[in-house]
């Protein structure tokens, strides 16, 4: 069976029954390690993805923010204190948008490559759900592009375009996180989606160029906090929750020498 895939070594394989049986503690440890390995080989690592997006947003939006400050006719007039000196609607320079786009594109590529390679070799309900989720992102952002094009054709100002392009992107991201949370039963993802929607609302109301600072600190920061929380929860789960046995107290007694990565 199934050996059309690979080397035919039935004859050389040791006899399966030759292995010594394990004691219960060893068996439970074996199960836990093997299941941890299986999960990390078939599911995308949320920590890695949140870290990548956190860095892309934090750095990218900070670049937009600082560039917008430079373009203000009198940089000294832009301060955190509200008042008459506040330069409203300052736009970043083209190079800043290129840096920003490069960072976002890198995060997109990393997300796709990582998710596809992790889920390769799996089939069934989860794979179908994941594929539909992936297509939802694609369709959302293709539509986003057309909407922005339509707004520009209708004569939207540079400031409106800047605000709308940011706000609509966040709306797509936030809603898809909420949808993903519902599809995968992931509470953390739901919180992240909720946070992104809040940040989008606040950033748009803040107005340019403050929008970019809000996006960098609250948006990028939100992803980084999420990456940290996922890391801590993952480490704790590996230490404590082991085998899915209802009411099992055993695993904790099995030895807690699991190492964090």
């Amino acid at each position: 069976m199934a050996n059309e895939h690979d080397d035919r070594d039935d004859e050389r394989a040791p006899h399966p029954e030759a292995e010594p049986a394990l004691d219960p503690a060893e068996s439970l440890r074996l199960i836990r390690d093997q299941q941890e390995r299986a999960r990390s080989a078939t599911e995308p690592d949320t920590r890695l993805l949140c870290l990548a997006w956190g860095v892309a947003w934090l750095v990218g939006y900070l670049v937009l923010w600082t560039s917008a400050l430079r373009t203000a006719s009198d940089p000294d007039a832009v301060r955190f204190t509200a008042g008459a000196g506040w330069v409203v609607g300052a736009q970043p320079e083209p190079w800043a948008f290129w840096v920003f786009s490069g960072l976002i594109a890198s995060a997109v590529v990393l997300t796709i490559v990582h998710s596809v390679s992790r889920t390769a070799g799996t089939r069934g309900v989860s794979a179908r759900t994941g594929a539909m989720y992936g297509w939802a992102w694609m369709l959302g952002f293709v539509t986003y592009g057309f909407i922005l094009g339509g707004l520009a054709r209708a004569g939207a100002s540079a400031e409106v375009m800047a605000l709308a392009s940011n706000a609509l992107a966040c709306l797509v991201v936030g809603l898809l996180y909420l949808g993903g949370a519902a599809a995968f039963g992931d509470r953390g993802l739901f919180l992240l989606g909720l946070w992104i929607l809040l940040v989008a609302a606040v950033a748009t109301y803040a107005g340019l160029p403050l929008t970019y600072l809000v996006m960098a600190l609250l948006g990028g920061g939100g992803f980084l906090v999420m990456a940290g929380v996922e890391h801590l929860l993952g480490a704790r789960r590996r230490r404590h929750a082991l085998v899915d046995v209802p009411g099992a107290a055993g695993p904790r007694a099995v030895g807690s020498e699991v190492t964090d990565d």
Binding site: N3, H5, D10, S126, A253
Partner: protein, 101 residues
Amino acid sequence: MTDADLDAIIHAPARLRVVATLAALGEGDELSFPKLRKLLDMTAGNLSTHLRKLEDAGYVRVVKTHEGRTPATYLALTPRGRAAFEDYTAALTTLLRGAGA
């Protein structure tokens, strides 16, 4: 309870690892033969032998299909296999508690 009460089909460490790996997937999910083999560090022949035993016991479902023109094999736990794995881990936990008391 003693060791003798444990499910003999799952009790062999190699098959225990196979079943534990497949049990880590969601219900309704399947894993390709090459990916399963990589996750277990087993030779194809060795893994095939164990899978045949598990299939004979009704614990594992083997799906043969084609991806383009390449034949592909996917593996999944049957509901019976999943139940046997849960019983097995529950039995281990009971044994462990008994030993510790």
